[in-house]
């Protein structure tokens, strides 16, 4: 690890990622992909379904390796799972056999913290996401939004410097999603982590991020990058009626639409 404090939090340099499909064919998910996330920056990645958005995140975690190119985290090449990274999954990734507090405490315990301070910390995080009274319940007893808040607490308790989110709120209903956006921005503004937020929801991307990456339909590469100059703190539930917001989302949508159409055509061709 280099003691370099100026390098970007995440860099993907000319990254390609191929893998074998179950019938033995080689498939390219990412091609010549370049991305750079500054420290404390909130980046959203949008693109058509199935274009390889999630692959970018797996490369940063070290769960997947690039076929070509280089992935750097805090200036050093990725080698295995980096403890400074937190990840929020699209589907439920809570441990169903553990109670809420036991789910939140897993990170610190895995990382070797003694049980007593670990549980104290977990209780503190449950208070922050307003779930203290449900500490001893099991995940299946909670609503979708509550489970997501447990996931956030489970991730943030490790104090990640880099936060990766893979369509984390896509399974929630629209109202709950807006509440979760507020929650996320609140937690993020306290932690100042660098975030990569993958989504197919353009409005979500613009409402949350400093920078939006638009990807081409697969194999994915960066089509364009937009800076979102809407001042913070943002109120997600109202921002969508903002003039600047509407202008930006129209511009980006013009760009994204072609890719969505192409992606849909390709899917139809594949099915037929």
């Amino acid at each position: 690890m280099s003691p370099d404090h100026t390098s970007p939090a995440i860099e993907l340099i000319n990254v390609s990622r191929r893998f074998l499909t179950p019938d033995g064919k080689s498939m390219t998910a990412l091609r010549d992909f370049n991305m750079s996330v500054a420290r404390g920056e909130f980046v959203a990645v949008v693109g058509p379904t199935g274009c390889g958005k999630s692959t970018t995140l797996n490369l940063v975690t070290g769960l997947a390796r690039p076929s070509a190119g280089e992935v750097r985290v805090m200036g050093a090449a990725v080698d295995g799972i980096d403890p400074r990274i937190g990840f929020v999954f699209q589907t439920d990734a809570l441990f169903p056999w553990r109670s809420v507090i036991d789910n939140v405490v897993t990170g610190p315990l895995f990382r070797g913290m003694a049980p007593e301070p670990a549980y104290a910390k977990a209780r503190e995080w449950l208070t922050r996401v307003n779930l203290s009274i449900h500490a001893t319940k099991f995940p299946h007893q909670l609503s979708g939004g509550m489970r997501k808040r447990v996931s956030l607490a489970q991730t943030f308790i490790n104090e990640p410097q880099i936060l990766l989110m893979d369509e984390p709120f896509s399974a929630l209903d629209v109202q709950t999603r807006v509440l979760m956006h507020e929650e996320l921005l609140k937690l993020w503004s306290q932690s100042k982590a660098s975030v990569v937020f993958v989504t197919h929801d353009l409005e979500e991307a613009i409402a949350l991020a400093d920078k939006v990456y638009v990807l081409t339909s697969g194999p994915a590469t960066v089509k364009s990058v937009y800076s979102i100059d809407i001042p913070r703190p943002r109120i997600v539930s109202e921002i969508r009626y903002d003039k600047a917001f509407i202008d930006i989302s129209r511009t980006i949508w013009e760009d994204l639409r072609d890719e969505v159409l192409r992606g849909a055509e390709r899917d139809e061709a594949r099915v037929s």
Binding site: F87, F89, T91, A93, W97, T106, F110, R111
Partner: protein, 292 residues
């Protein structure tokens, strides 16, 4: 002019039942259903045993081959009160239980360990899967004479037979459970910081647990089968020996009595297993009940 404002957006309440009434009705229906289930259970039992007894009394079937519920009860009473011709019933029962329990625990522990090891290691799994298939294709009971030849008439040969009966069932379930562990949960645990053994202990084993438990239910029965078949082929003590002796003296009541004892033991074990499983699986959602 027509007043259109009252047409929509007015909630229409049916003059209906309150929640309390629905709940009371549901509780009553559940009670009734439970009663009906028990009624039919006992009814079938009584018809079966009564039919058997009457068929013997009216000489429709030969008591020499089929004995009768009453003779079986008498034989059980005799065994319990006076002991069998081969000694105390409880001693024989204890011997069979000891063999079954030893076979069950050693077989399931070995099965779980092997299942998890092969489930976690693709290379090991690919190498050993063919051998496991081959060995698994052997009908287990044909091993009984071999084990008795190798280990003698004592405890060891029965435990060995019980072991092989249990091992493969538990192994294949544990293996399947590990292979089907949720990818997301594994990835999540790894990113949260789990390494090596932590990952196995905190994700792999709990997610394989429901598979493993399903196999344990079946395999305790198999453990008893292993012990009894072993005793059958050659032993000095045990319920299997009692059956063998009864067979030798054409004592139908004795054979059926031994079967009843085994049934009671197996049911008790099944009940205990369900209790343990329910305790361990309290995190699982209970299904909602349909209102009828």
């Amino acid at each position: 002019m027509m007043n259109t404002t009252t047409i929509s957006a007015v909630p229409v309440f049916q003059p209906g039942t309150s929640d309390a009434e629905i709940e009371a009705a549901a509780a009553q229906a559940a009670q009734k259903r439970k009663f009906a289930v028990y009624f039919w259970r006992y009814f079938i039992l009584i018809v079966f045993l009564g039919g058997w007894e009457l068929a013997v009394r009216f000489k429709l079937i030969d008591v020499f081959f089929y004995s009768s519920p009453w003779f079986i009860i008498l034989r059980l009473k005799e065994w319990v009160v006076e002991g069998t011709a081969e000694g105390s019933l409880w001693f024989h029962l204890w011997v069979t239980m000891e063999e079954s329990l030893l076979g069950f625990f050693s077989g399931s522990i070995a099965g779980i360990i092997a299942g998890i090891a092969l489930g976690r290691n693709k290379m090991l799994a690919d190498v050993f899967s063919i051998y496991i298939k081959v060995i698994n294709s052997i009908p287990r009971v044909v091993l009984a004479p071999i084990f008795i030849m190798i280990f003698g008439l004592g405890l060891t040969s029965k435990v060995a037979l019980s072991f092989v009966m249990v091992f493969f069932v538990v192994f294949s379930n544990a293996f399947q459970g590990v292979v089907e562990a949720d990818r997301n949960l594994l990835a999540n645990a790894q990113i949260l910081g789990a390494k090596g053994w932590q990952l196995t202990r905190s994700v792999v084993i709990p997610s394989a647990m429901s598979w493993i438990f399903a196999s344990l239910h079946v395999s305790f029965g198999f453990a008893i089968v292993g012990a009894i078949v072993g005793e059958f082929v050659g032993a000095r003590y045990g319920i299997g020996l009692l059956i063998n002796v009864a067979k030798g003296s054409f004592d139908a009541a004795g054979m059926y009595a031994a079967i009843v004892i085994i049934m009671v033991v197996a049911l008790a074990a099944e009940y205990a297993m369900t209790r343990v499983e329910n305790r361990l699986a309290k995190w699982r959602p209970a299904p909602l009940q349909e209102l009828q």
